[in-house]
C-alpha cells in the first residue's frame, strides 16, 4: 500500500516534447536569443548544447563527469572537463551573452557564488532547477517520512550529487541576495507544460515541478 503510494508520488519518466527534446531544455532554449554566445555550466552529455547549436547559437560547455565530456567532445561539441564550483573563476567578465545552469544548481557546493560568477561572465544567466516545494515532494515527506525521489531526482539521499535543493521561493530570495534582476520566469508542471503565467508565486511553488529563470545584472 505504502509502496504503491510511493510510486504514485514518483513520476514515471522525464517529460519530453513531441520532437524528442526535453521540455526543460526547450524552456531554457526559448529564453536565449539566436546568434548569441552561450556557456552551459554542467552540460551533461551535451543534449542542451546540441539543441542550442541547431538554433544557431554558439554554445560551449563545462561538465564535471569525464564520460559526459568525452562523449560531448566526440560529438564535436566545445565542452571542457571542469567543476562549476572551482573553474568559473577562470572565465573573463562578459565572455558570454548567456550563462546557463540547467538542472545543476542543486549539485553545486556554493550556489550563491556560482550564480554570482554566472552574472559576471554572462550578460544574462538562465537557471533551471527542480522545485523542492512541489506538492508531490511535500507529500512524500509528509506521508512517507523519507527524503523524496522523483523521475528527475531518482537518487537516494546517500548517493545523490544534489546537495543544495531549494524551492522556487528560495531561489527568488537568492536572486535578491545576489542582486539579480528576474527578467523571465517559467514554472513547468510534471508534463512539461508551463503553468499559467499570471498565477501567484505560491501556486508556482506548489505546482511547478521545475522552475526556469532568465536573470540579468541589476
Amino acid at each position: 500500500m505504502l509502496e504503491r503510494f510511493r510510486r504514485d508520488l514518483t513520476m514515471a519518466e522525464a517529460a519530453r516534447a513531441p520532437g524528442g527534446a526535453r521540455v526543460d531544455h526547450l524552456a531554457v532554449a526559448d529564453m536565449i536569443e539566436p546568434g548569441s554566445r552561450v556557456l552551459d555550466v554542467g552540460c551533461g552529455d551535451g543534449e542542451l548544447l546540441r539543441l542550442l547549436e541547431l538554433r544557431g547559437i554558439d554554445g560551449r560547455g563545462i561538465e564535471l563527469s569525464r564520460e559526459g565530456v568525452n562523449d560531448s567532445v566526440a560529438k564535436g561539441l566545445a565542452v571542457v572537463q571542469g567543476d562549476a564550483d572551482t573553474d568559473l573563476v577562470n572565465y573573463p567578465d562578459d565572455g558570454f551573452d548567456y550563462v546557463v545552469l540547467s538542472q545543476t544548481l542543486q549539485a553545486t557546493r556554493e550556489p550563491r557564488v556560482v550564480l554570482e560568477h554566472m552574472l559576471r561572465i554572462g550578460r544574462h544567466a538562465v537557471v533551471s532547477f527542480p522545485n523542492f516545494g512541489h506538492w508531490r515532494i511535500r507529500l512524500q515527506i509528509l506521508f512517507d517520512g523519507r527524503m523524496p525521489t522523483t523521475a528527475n531526482l531518482p537518487e537516494t539521499w546517500y548517493d545523490t550529487p544534489n546537495i543544495h535543493f531549494c524551492t522556487i521561493k528560495d531561489f527568488r530570495d537568492l536572486c535578491d541576495v545576489v542582486g539579480a534582476k528576474m527578467e523571465k520566469a517559467v514554472a513547468l508542471n510534471p508534463w512539461g507544460s508551463p503553468l499559467r503565467f499570471n498565477a501567484p508565486w505560491w501556486f508556482w511553488n506548489m505546482f511547478g515541478e521545475q522552475g526556469v529563470f532568465l536573470l540579468s545584472r541589476r
Partner: protein, 406 residues
C-alpha cells in the same frame, strides 16, 4: 642482457664509423621529399642568428583538395620524425602515429592532406646539428645555433608556404609536438582553423627542465661525445645517449604501467645473479630502449631539441599572460590530457584551457583515463581516437570539407 644491448655497449670502431656515415647520409640526403631554401629565404632565429640555407624534410599523405582547405600538419615530438604514417626508412618500423593517421583512421588520409615535417634542429633531413655547415664544409655540431619551438614553427610555415597552402585545416601534435601546435595557434592564428594540442603545456616545467638536463649531461659525459665533434672525429657517444633515453623513457611511462608490464619479474632467470647484469625485466627493457634509440638518433640533436623545449614559455612572449597569446582567436581547440601522465600532467592542460577561455576561444578539453603515462598519446587508446575523430569531423563540417576531402 639482450643481443641488442651487447651491440650497443661493445660497439666496435668500424660500427661507429658505419653509423656515422648512415647518419650523415640521412641528415643531408633524407629518404623523403625535402625542400631547400637558399639565400633568398633565410630563417631569422630567436637567438638572433640568421640561418641559411635551410633544408626541410617532410612526408605527405593523401591529396590536397582544389580549395586547398584540407591540409593537416602533424608536429612530431622530441624523438619523432616525418615518418608518421609510413614504414621508417632506417628502422623498418611502421609509422609512429599509425594508430591515428591513415585511410579510415581519425585523421583520415582519404579525406585530409596530411603533412609531417622533420623539425628544425633534428637529424632526419631537416637542417640541424648533424647537417653540413656550408661555411666550413663540416658537420655543424655545437656551432649550430640554439633553436626554439617558435623557430621550428617558423620553418614549418616556410614549408607550408612552399606547398602553396594558406590556411591549415588542423595542426596536431603531442608533447613537444603539442608545444608547436600552441605556437602555431599563437603565431599564425589566421592560418590555423583547428588545433589539437595533446599531452602538452604552455611552458616547460622546472621538473621537466631538470629531466632534460640529466639527459644532456649523460650525453656530454660520454668520452666519445668529443665536445659535440663526434661526427667529425668518427666516434659515437651512443652510451651517453642511451642513458639519456633510458632516463627519459621512465618519464614517458607511469609507475602503474611499469608495474603492470614488468613488476619485479626476472629476465630469463629465476634467481638474482648477485651482479649488475640486467636481472630484472624492467632493466632489460630500458637497455633495449636505449640501444635501439641510438641507432636512429643523433646525440647533438637530443641536446638541441631538449633545449628548445626548456626555453618554451608562451607567456614570456605576451607580458607573462598566456591568454594574450590567444586573444580573439578564431581557431577551434581540442586539448587532451591523460590521467597518468606525470611529465605533462592534466593541470598543465587545464592551464591551456583557462588561457583559451580567457581569450574567448572555442575550446574542448578531455582527460583520458589510462595508466600508460605520457606515451598514451602514441598508443591505441580508443577514447583518444574517438575524441580526435569527433572533433575533426565537426571541424571539417564547419570548414566545408566533405567525407571525400572535397
Amino acid at each position: 642482457m639482450s643481443a641488442d644491448d651487447r651491440e650497443c655497449m661493445n660497439e666496435t670502431p668500424a660500427m661507429a664509423r658505419r653509423d656515422v656515415a648512415d647518419r650523415l647520409r640521412e641528415a643531408e640526403h633524407p629518404q623523403s621529399p625535402f625542400v631547400r631554401f637558399g639565400d633568398e629565404r633565410p630563417l631569422a632565429l630567436d637567438s638572433g642568428v640568421i640561418l641559411s640555407p635551410v633544408q626541410i624534410a617532410y612526408q605527405t599523405y593523401g591529396t590536397l583538395n582544389a580549395a586547398r582547405s584540407n591540409a593537416v600538419l602533424i608536429c612530431h615530438a622530441l624523438t619523432g620524425d616525418q615518418h608518421v604514417a609510413n614504414v621508417h626508412p632506417v628502422t623498418g618500423k611502421t609509422g609512429w602515429w599509425e594508430t591515428l593517421i591513415g585511410p579510415g583512421k581519425p585523421i583520415d588520409t582519404e579525406r585530409y592532406f596530411v603533412i609531417c615535417a622533420n623539425v628544425l634542429g633534428a637529424c632526419m633531413g631537416t637542417t640541424g646539428p648533424a647537417s653540413i655547415n656550408p661555411a666550413t664544409g663540416q658537420v655543424w655540431g655545437l656551432d649550430f645555433p640554439v633553436i626554439t619551438i617558435r623557430d621550428m614553427v617558423r620553418a614549418q610555415a616556410m614549408l607550408i608556404d612552399h606547398l602553396g597552402i594558406d590556411t591549415l585545416f588542423a595542426v596536431v601534435g603531442g608533447s613537444m609536438g603539442g608545444m608547436q601546435v600552441l605556437q602555431w595557434a599563437a603565431s599564425y592564428p589566421e592560418r590555423v582553423f583547428a588545433a589539437l594540442p595533446i599531452a602538452t603545456a604552455t611552458r616547460h616545467s622546472a621538473q621537466n627542465i631538470a629531466f632534460d638536463e640529466v639527459g644532456r649531461q649523460a650525453v656530454m659525459a660520454d668520452p666519445e661525445w668529443r665536445k659535440g665533434r663526434y661526427l667529425i672525429e668518427g666516434t659515437n657517444p651512443s652510451r651517453g645517449l642511451a642513458v639519456a633515453r633510458m632516463g627519459a623513457h621512465i618519464t614517458y611511462l607511469s609507475d602503474a604501467a611499469l608495474h603492470r608490464k614488468f613488476g619485479r619479474k626476472f629476465q630469463d632467470r629465476s634467481n638474482p645473479t648477485f651482479s649488475f647484469d640486467a636481472d630484472f625485466e624492467v632493466e632489460s627493457y630500458l637497455r633495449h630502449q636505449g640501444s635501439t634509440f641510438v641507432e636512429r638518433f643523433d646525440a647533438n640533436t637530443y641536446l638541441y631539441l631538449t633545449r628548445a623545449m626548456d626555453y618554451f614559455d608562451l607567456a614570456a612572449d605576451c607580458d607573462g599572460v598566456v591568454a594574450n597569446a590567444f586573444k580573439g582567436t578564431k581557431t577551434r581547440f581540442c586539448v587532451i590530457s591523460f590521467t597518468s601522465d606525470w611529465l605533462f600532467p592534466t593541470p598543465d592542460s587545464r592551464a591551456i584551457v583557462h588561457a583559451l577561455n580567457a581569450g574567448g576561444a572555442r575550446v574542448s578539453f578531455a582527460e583520458v583515463v589510462t595508466d600508460k603515462g605520457h606515451d598514451a598519446f602514441l598508443l591505441d587508446e580508443p577514447e583518444l581516437l574517438a575524441i580526435v575523430r569527433g572533433f575533426l569531423d565537426a571541424a571539417a563540417q564547419a570548414r566545408g570539407i566533405d567525407a571525400a576531402g572535397g
